[in-house]
Symmetry: C2
Subunit: 875 residues, 2 copies
């Protein structure tokens, strides 16, 4: 039997992708599940290869097969190519095995010529439409199939519009269009040497050859090279009959979802237009009608359509987004695909489908895009309210949510205003740790500088607070307390609204919808916990965040940063005195004042976490971050300490660093000022014992940051253990504890076999690890990272999505070397990546015990962890 080169849509199915291409096999699949797809056929990829093997010619055998399928098509539809009465028109599309956006465009309405244009006029009762279609076809065919430059045709249109004083293409009359068709045919003849082909079969063969040739055009070759696609696959060609929704009042076109894409409600949702083509719906000239009214207009068609929607949901086992056309009361399905939906709808749909027995729990879990959950966890502006307000600026969507309030330009003013009961938006050039109190009290934070991982962004996400960062269009003048954009000047106390999910900034107050978590969300998360095999913890520095995180399902604290506690109003002065001390004794005296406050912090957190593990990191930032910058505060500090202002200023200058990120911070502080480490270890253990006495089971994990050399950890572990044991002895209550380290320096990963010997656990600090592995300062990289993404140098911002190739290799090395010497070494991650789905999967596959992320990302991480387990279950 000789090879078959052409398949009717009825002859294929979705498994035949390599022979029929992606598009062809899908059209076949839809046809075979009984959908009224406009009929047609597919010329195989083998035919394409044969074309190249036959010195770029379609051999007679294949031409014969095409002819025969075309005849069948005409017979089935009762239409004829080139006819002057309701003529058959077809579309011609390429269809490779893998989607290749660089390839040939579609040719529509093939079959139009000087005669069939009359037939189309008659069938649609619309001469203007027929001639408009004809001139478009000539232009498209010439450009796409024959490579006649498009501008040659465009310039004719432009000339005529100018001559006639028309503003738009739609102003062209039927007579204009007839004249244009003649001019277009003349251009074709001049460029190609032959008249525009009037024989539709010749049009078809030329179009098919053009598709075959497009397989080897430059764009396609480059695309295949970049995407590693085999050059020998070839492309298929799809020939499909055109259907028309503009053939009078028994025709129409529309779009429908099988369920409500906003809520997930199981009720048909969509709209249609009578006597219209698809473009008309998009153009918005006429207002479409609700799909439910179709039942009255064309009851039979509607009934058929409703049945089809059930068939489609059943077949694809998901909510469908369907395009349809009715041609003379005959329904055609043009396309169906899984419908885009809100997070709310997505969850409701999968829970419904599970209840209906269509999918199982695991599939339900796999169906939800983890990042989408973010929508559910934050308030949003009401759509209608947004539509009526124009954004005055757009920054980075740094922390999701929506917030309105009065502008204040510094933390003190913000705290004061909030104290008066005002809603506050804190607007700053950029934030620093000194602004923490103001950030806590504000509804949202807006900064002019800084990226997605700037201080403002990181802290706001940690608090689950709305933040727009790096909004460069704003001119923020902190001194004169005004902010301007696009010529508009706003002053302290003026209302603005910011959307942390879009980065947009609006003037005035905008209404918000508070989204409550529905019961289905809870059911889904229940399944998630059933299949998830890796724990999800949270990064939280205070009882408030800890409580929020527990509500979101956090199973412990993966990172409690102690420095934020240092900034609180009642203790920053003691901290500053400690830093400015000249002797160990003075420093210890100041530290003694801090101990009770730190202890209280820990007790409260232990209480909230109620037996769940709590990982506490010792002081990390460089000391100069705690010192004041403004003269006022310096003066006051000097007075309180009985020192001269110049003395304090000198100390501040001495502490200045060229590259603080790589400076005197992390465990380096504890090495040079062991008394700080002693104070913290003491406060942690005293807190743990106090909580234990209250009946709470506590096992603090004490974490030493920024270790790069095992001797650092050896020394500090010794100091911590000695301190902690002394507290235990004094108090007479034994509490279990572990001592480990944050792995955030490349050298720690490289020497993990040494470090694991003295660590009970590792927590990967992938923020800093990314900074050092790439050599990017996240405070400065904004200056070039945008251009890096634009130029395709970086696919994704490595501070948002863990770079598995480079940074991930270090994480893997650290995990393997560490577990090599200590198989039960506990491993976690507490960088921003701990809440990013692809990074969560990577961590799961490396065998990490947990990921930790900001409270509002906990549900996302839980879902991502469950998906990872389902893909690749751990034994």
């Amino acid at each position: 039997m000789s090879t078959k080169f052409v398949y009717d849509f009825k002859e294929g199915n979705k498994e035949m992708k390599y022979l029929l291409g992606g598009k062809g096999s899908n059209l076949a699949e839809m046809t075979n599940i009984g959908l009224p797809v406009p009929p047609g056929f597919t010329i195989t990829t083998e035919a394409c290869n044969d074309y190249y093997a036959s010195e770029k010619s379609i051999k007679a055998e294949i031409r014969e097969e095409i002819k025969s399928h075309l005849e069948t098509l005409e017979k089935n539809l009762g239409k004829t190519l080139g006819s002057d009465k309701n003529p058959l028109l077809v579309s011609v599309r390429s269809g490779a095995v893998f989607s290749m956006p660089g390839m040939m465009d579609t040719i529509l309405n093939l079959g139009l010529n000087d005669i069939s244009v009359i037939g189309l006029t008659e069938a649609t009762k619309n001469e203007r439409f027929a001639y408009d279609s004809y001139r478009r076809f000539i232009q498209m065919f010439s450009d796409v199939a024959m490579e006649v430059p498009k501008y040659k045709f465009e310039s004719v249109l432009d000339r005529i519009k100018e001559e006639k004083g028309y503003a738009q293409d739609t102003d062209l009359t039927t007579e204009d269009l007839k004249a244009i068709v003649e001019e277009f045919k003349a251009i074709y003849k001049k460029e190609i040497g032959n008249p525009f082909p009037q024989d539709p079969k010749e049009q078809l063969l030329l179009a098919i050859e053009a598709v075959f040739r497009s397989w080897n055009n430059n764009r396609a070759i480059v695309y295949r090279k970049l995407n590693d696609i085999d050059n020998n696959l070839g492309t298929a060609v799809n020939i499909q009959s055109m259907v028309f929704g503009n053939m009078g009042d028994t025709s129409g076109t529309g779009v429908a979802f099988t369920r409500n894409p906003a809520t997930g409600e199981n009720k048909l949702f969509g709209e249609y237009l009578i006597n219209a083509q698809g473009e008309d719906v998009v153009a918005g000239i006429r207002t479409p009608q609700d799909i439910s009214t179709l039942g009255t207009v064309m009851p039979d068609v509607f009934k058929q359509f409703v049945e089809i929607t059930h068939t489609l949901e059943g077949h694809y086992r998901d909510m469908q987004d369907i395009e349809f056309t009715i041609e003379n009361e005959r329904l055609f399905i043009l396309q169906t695909r899984n419908g885009k939906r809100t997070a709310q709808a997505a969850i409701n749909v999968v829970v419904d489908l599970v209840d209906a027995g269509i999918i199982d729990e695991k599939e339900a879990i796999m169906r939800i895009e983890p990042n989408q959950l973010d929508q559910l966890l934050h308030p949003k502006f009401e759509d209608a309210a947004i539509n009526s307000s124009a954004a005055i600026a757009k920054g980075l969507p740094a922390s999701p949510g929506a917030a309105s309030g009065k502008i204040y330009f510094n933390a003190d003013d913000a705290v004061e205003a909030a104290g008066r009961g005002e809603k506050v938006i804190l607007v700053r050039l950029e934030t620093s740790p000194e602004d923490i109190e103001g950030m806590v009290k504000a509804e949202g934070i807006l900064t002019a500088r800084g990226g997605m991982t700037s201080h403002a962004a990181v802290v706001a996400r940690g608090m689950g607070k709305c933040c727009v960062a790096g909004c460069g269009e704003l001119n923020v003048d902190e001194i004169n307390k005004e902010v301007s954009a696009k010529g508009l000047v706003l002053n302290e106390g003026d209302y603005i609204s910011i959307d942390g999910s879009t980065g947009k900034v609006y003037v005035g107050e905008i209404k918000k919808t508070e989204v409550s978590l529905s019961g289905n969300f809870g059911r889904l998360m229940g399944w998630v916990d059933k299949y998830k095999q890796m724990a999800v913890r949270t990064n939280a520095d205070n009882p408030r965040d800890s409580r929020a995180a527990v509500e979101f399902g956090a199973e412990g604290i993966g990172l409690c940063r102690t420095e934020h506690m240092f900034f609180e109003e009642d203790r920053i002065e003691a901290v500053r005195e400690m830093i400015l001390s000249d002797s160990v004794e003075e420093r210890e005296k100041a530290l003694e004042r801090i101990i009770p406050m730190q202890r209280r912090d820990f007790v409260e957190i232990f209480e909230v976490m109620d037996g769940k593990p709590v990982n506490i990191r010792l002081l990390d930032p460089p000391l100069h971050e705690f010192l004041p910058q403004d003269d006022e505060t310096i003066k006051e500090l000097a007075k309180n300490m009985g020192r001269s202002v110049s003395d304090i200023k000198k100390k501040i200058v001495d502490l200045h660093e060229f590259n603080p990120m790589l400076g005197h911070r992390g465990c380096r502080l504890a090495v040079t000022f062991p008394e700080i480490c002693v104070m913290q270890a003491k406060a942690i253990m005293q807190g743990a014992i106090e909580a234990t006495k209250k009946g709470i089971k506590v096992t603090p994990e004490i974490m030493v940051p920024l270790v790069g050399e095992v001797n650092e950890l050896k020394l500090l572990r010794g100091i911590i253990v000695e301190t902690v044991e002394e507290v235990i002895k004094q108090e007479g209550v034994a509490v279990d504890y572990t001592v480990g380290t944050m792995i955030e320096i490349p050298r720690a990963c490289l020497t993990s076999d040494e470090i694991a010997e003295v660590a009970d656990f590792y927590s990967f600090g992938t923020n800093d690890l990314t900074q050092m592995t790439y050599g990017y300062s996240r405070d400065d990289a904004g200056k070039f990272l945008g251009e890096y993404e634009d130029k395709g140098i970086l696919e994704k911002d490595p501070f948002q999505v863990l770079d598995q190739t480079g940074v991930g290799k270090l994480v893997k090395m650290a995990a393997e070397l560490g577990r090599g010497v200590k198989p039960d070494l506990k491993l976690g991650i507490c960088g921003e990546h701990g809440g990013e789905p692809s990074s969560v999967e990577f961590c799961y596959n490396l065998g990490l015990n947990y990921v930790s992320c900001s409270p509002f990302r906990v549900p996302i991480a839980r879902l991502a962890a469950a998906q990872a387990s389902i893909k690749n279950p751990r034994k």
Copy 2:
């Protein structure tokens, strides 16, 4: 046959280290080559293990062996332990297999008691000496062997000295000492419960047991743990007879070198004292005599000694440093070891030994400590001149050499003064790239801040210019142009002298010796080149440094930094205009002005290098480094550019970075400002073609800095190749060139298999790689690195000695991954480590093609490379 536990020195040799310990086997070796070593015997490490196996007792069998060896010793020497006539006294020393500084101290003069002290008096005719020895012995024995606290004895001495009004121990009379002996014995009895042992054999057994116990004291256990020494090795005990050089005019003591340790001259060099103990020579109370006069005083002894020195040189095949004692005309050799010597002497000695056929060329090469060569390559202050000048401060020895000159506090003043013919020392808080011209003109550089790898240090080493950096004791006031230290204030124009090899700073001018390279240096370096299998290049940015490096044997340029060229007076303004431009066009206009100057730089360097490879790195530092900081210059710049001062200042603020080290620099500049890269590529190729036309073979290596992601190099390689090919086409002259990258970002190492695909070569920039792998900013790490070394966290400064464990692992990974995809990938290193011997060896062992270092370190690197080849020859 039962185990033998005690060996006479005559019965052992240097191979028996595990049985006799290090010290014991050496004493045996010296005895057996015929040296008159004071006789004695060694109790084996097996005896120590037996002691522990026998519940901490020395079993009878071993006691018997000790007794028998002791009797033989007495017989051979004709002396008896405890005798009242010329008694035998012995020393007892521990001797482990590996040297363990934490173990038991030595006990001298064992055997003294109430009777033998009279014998010693008679033998030495010195009663005071005898009783002084006795009281010292009681104290030492009680402390070392019986753990009676030292202070108990010291307090007696203090009391008596106070009572008698003595200033020093030497004021004590014989009668005083006799009384002290009685008091000491009383203390012993009180503390131990028994009287001080009068039986010398009991003394000996107690001392031996004490040595055995010391094997398991805390210090020793910790030391073994830290140094990975097996706990089961045990320690040996050495019993050696004491000899006395203070027995009258036929006795004496001295020290001699077989050759002159300062010059290497083959002539006995040393001094001695008649009727004296070793301490007397050290105490300096009497002036020793030149060794040559011993021939007149004791001709036979001298003849024997000269013969022995020949024997020793022959046996150890190196210059020896020998300690000897003459007791009653009998010569004893107490110790011999390879003599310490100057670099000059070291070279002359090995060349002599090769000429004498004693060692071969390879051994000569292995004998020279590469770092020592540094002494030969820089001028030094005359020893006498230094001794009479007290240093006023001490900083880091940042770049070797010696310099005197008048103080100037900024680059402009320095340049001006040098123009007037003055010798200048540039004194700054710290230097920045703006100071380059001043540094070039200065004799030496002195800074108050910054470490061994600060800007001043790195640049000065590159220039081979003397530099003392980080001299924190100095208060430098650049505004008022004065510097003070220890209360002394110096002003502009005052003379100071700085020693870059010691870090010392002196007031006034000090005489220097210019060391010329002798013929033997040339001969040694000739052998070095014969055995060396890895090339040594230099880091040089201008023709002057390149020329110096070629004279020192550089085989090419491994790193030519183009940014230093940007700072030269005639072009910095064009560079600044380029940076401050608002559009690509403006920037290109400014760059056009720079091209001819850059081209000229390259032509000159190509000429000096005359066919040797030249690696040119594209612009690396962040742009803000080129901008002025002072108002004056900013004002001038604004005027010249026709811009407002505030405009320029705003731009400077915009370019500010939090962590410039991790900021917008290196290839990131070329990605965002491709026109800079185009300008540089053009200048390089135009320069190469101009040189080629002059008949010089040029193959420029164009190096892209700071690549961390292959796509950066892909993009820039494309731009460079396109630019270069266009120049070649325009000029009609083809020049070979290669394009590669500096590997200095951890991620580059981790993804080296990707990067190697688009690189012709790698040059490891281990300075930055160390910064990022450790997370240390070299500008800031000074604040804690000192403490890190003090606390034993870091063994060595990783910016000086390549960290093989961590950073080296990345280098290895990069080399292996890179060569895995491109076996002929050319690999080099251009960080500071390229001139550090252990790092050079590491690079050689990784298979690198070359190392590159500052010109003055080239001979050191050549020698280190030769030593590496000799240890482990490449096929």
